[in-house]
C-alpha cells in the first residue's frame, strides 16, 4: 500500500508504472516536486517511468479491494453473506424472492411442477 502511494501517485492522479523493478529513473525522482504538470501530456513529457494511464479497474477494484481487505470486519459494508461482487467488483445485494413474488411470477414452476 505504501509502495502504491509512493510510486504511482502523481500531481493529478495515480499513474501506472512502466517499470516495477527499477524505479531509479522514475517520474518521482527526475521531476522536482514543485513543478506541477497542468495535464497528463505534461506529466508524460517529464516522465520516464510513470505511464500516462489510469485504468478503470483501479478505482473499481484495486482501491475497493484494498479498502475491504484492511477494514474492520465488523464495519464491512458488504459481507459475503449479503453481497456479491461481480467481475469488476460492482456490488450486488443477495436477495430472495418473497412468496408473493414467487406466486406472481410463477417462479420455480418449471422445476417442481407443483407450485
Amino acid at each position: 500500500m505504501q509502495s502504491l502511494l509512493r510510486w504511482t501517485r502523481t500531481s493529478n492522479g495515480f499513474a501506472a508504472l512502466s517499470r516495477a523493478s527499477r524505479p531509479e529513473s522514475g517520474y518521482q525522482n527526475s521531476m522536482p516536486r514543485f513543478v506541477k504538470p497542468t495535464h497528463q501530456c505534461d506529466a508524460l513529457a517529464y516522465s520516464t517511468s510513470n505511464l500516462s494511464t489510469v485504468y478503470s479497474y483501479f478505482l473499481a477494484e484495486t482501491l475497493k479491494y484494498l479498502y475491504l481487505t484492511f477494514i474492520d470486519p465488523e464495519e464491512d459494508p458488504w459481507p459475503l453473506e449479503t453481497a456479491v461482487l461481480n467481475t469488476e467488483a460492482h456490488g450486488f445485494p443477495i436477495f430472495t424472492w418473497s412468496e408473493a413474488q414467487q406466486r406472481r411470477w410463477d417462479l420455480f414452476r418449471s422445476n417442481s411442477g407443483t407450485q
Binding site: M1, Q2, L17, A20, S21, R33, E61, L68, P73
Partner: protein
C-alpha cells in the same frame, strides 16, 4: 478445477515458488501473469461455498491457493518499488524440461509420505523475499517479462483474509494485515518519492 491444478500449477527450481502458467500448443510457457493471481481467490471461494468437494479436494485447493497467493505476494516483495510486475517467466524445475516440477506431483509425494510438516515442497520452509536487490534471474527463479505495474487489484489478498473463517489462511492474512498497518504510519509517504 482439478485439471487446472494438475496441469498448470508448477513449482520453481530453487526457491520453490508455486506458480500457475499457460499451455500453448502443447508446450508449457512458464509465464506467470499478475492477472493469474485471481486464481487463489477462486479456489478459496470454491472451498468455502461448494458443498460437493471432498476433504481431499479441499486440502489440495487450499494448498494450491496458499502457495500461489504466497508467490503473488513475493513478486511484490522482490522488487525495489514493492510493486509486482505485469508478468514473469519462470525457469523450469529441471533445466530444459518445461514439463518438470508440476505441483500435483510434489503434493502427491507429500501425501504419500504421510503429510509431514506444513505442506508439500514450497511450504517447508516457505519461500522468502529476495534480500539482494540485484536483478539476477537465476537467483529469483524467474525473469521479468513485462515490467509495468498496471495498478491491478489483489483480489486474493482480500478473499483469503475474508474467507479465513472457514479456512486456515491465517498466515497469509497476517501478511496482508501487516501491509495495512504499515500504511497507517504517518510519514507523508506520497511526498518524498525517495
Amino acid at each position: 478445477m482439478f485439471g487446472a491444478i494438475s496441469q498448470l500449477v508448477f513449482v520453481s527450481p530453487h526457491r520453490h515458488l508455486i506458480y500457475i502458467t499457460d499451455i500453448n500448443e502443447h508446450s508449457v510457457t512458464g509465464q506467470f501473469e499478475h492477472l493469474s493471481c485471481f486464481f487463489p481467490a477462486l479456489l478459496a471461494l470454491g472451498n468455502s461455498t461448494l458443498s460437493s468437494l471432498t476433504p481431499n479436494e479441499i486440502e489440495l485447493h487450499q494448498m494450491a491457493a496458499l502457495g500461489l497467493a504466497e508467490s503473488c505476494w513475493l513478486l511484490y516483495k522482490d522488487t525495489k518499488t514493492g510493486l509486482g510486475p505485469e508478468d514473469v517467466l519462470f525457469d523450469p524445475f529441471k533445466p530444459g524440461d518445461m514439463q518438470s516440477g508440476r505441483f500435483i506431483e510434489h503434493y502427491d509425494a507429500w501425501v504419500a509420505a504421510g503429510r509431514r510438516g506444513a505442506g508439500p515442497i514450497g511450504f517447508n520452509p516457505p519461500p522468502k523475499p529476495m534480500e539482494s536487490r540485484l536483478y539476477l534471474a537465476q537467483h529469483r527463479d524467474y525473469s521479468v517479462q513485462h515490467r509495468e505495474y498496471n495498478l491491478r487489484p489483489e483480489v486474493s489478498c482480500w478473499a483469503l483474509s475474508t474467507l479465513s473463517g472457514s479456512l486456515t489462511f491465517s498466515r497469509l492474512s497476517r501478511q496482508c494485515m501487516s501491509c495495512g498497518r504499515r500504511q497507517k504510519i504517518p510519514s507523508g509517504v506520497n511526498e518524498t518519492g525517495k
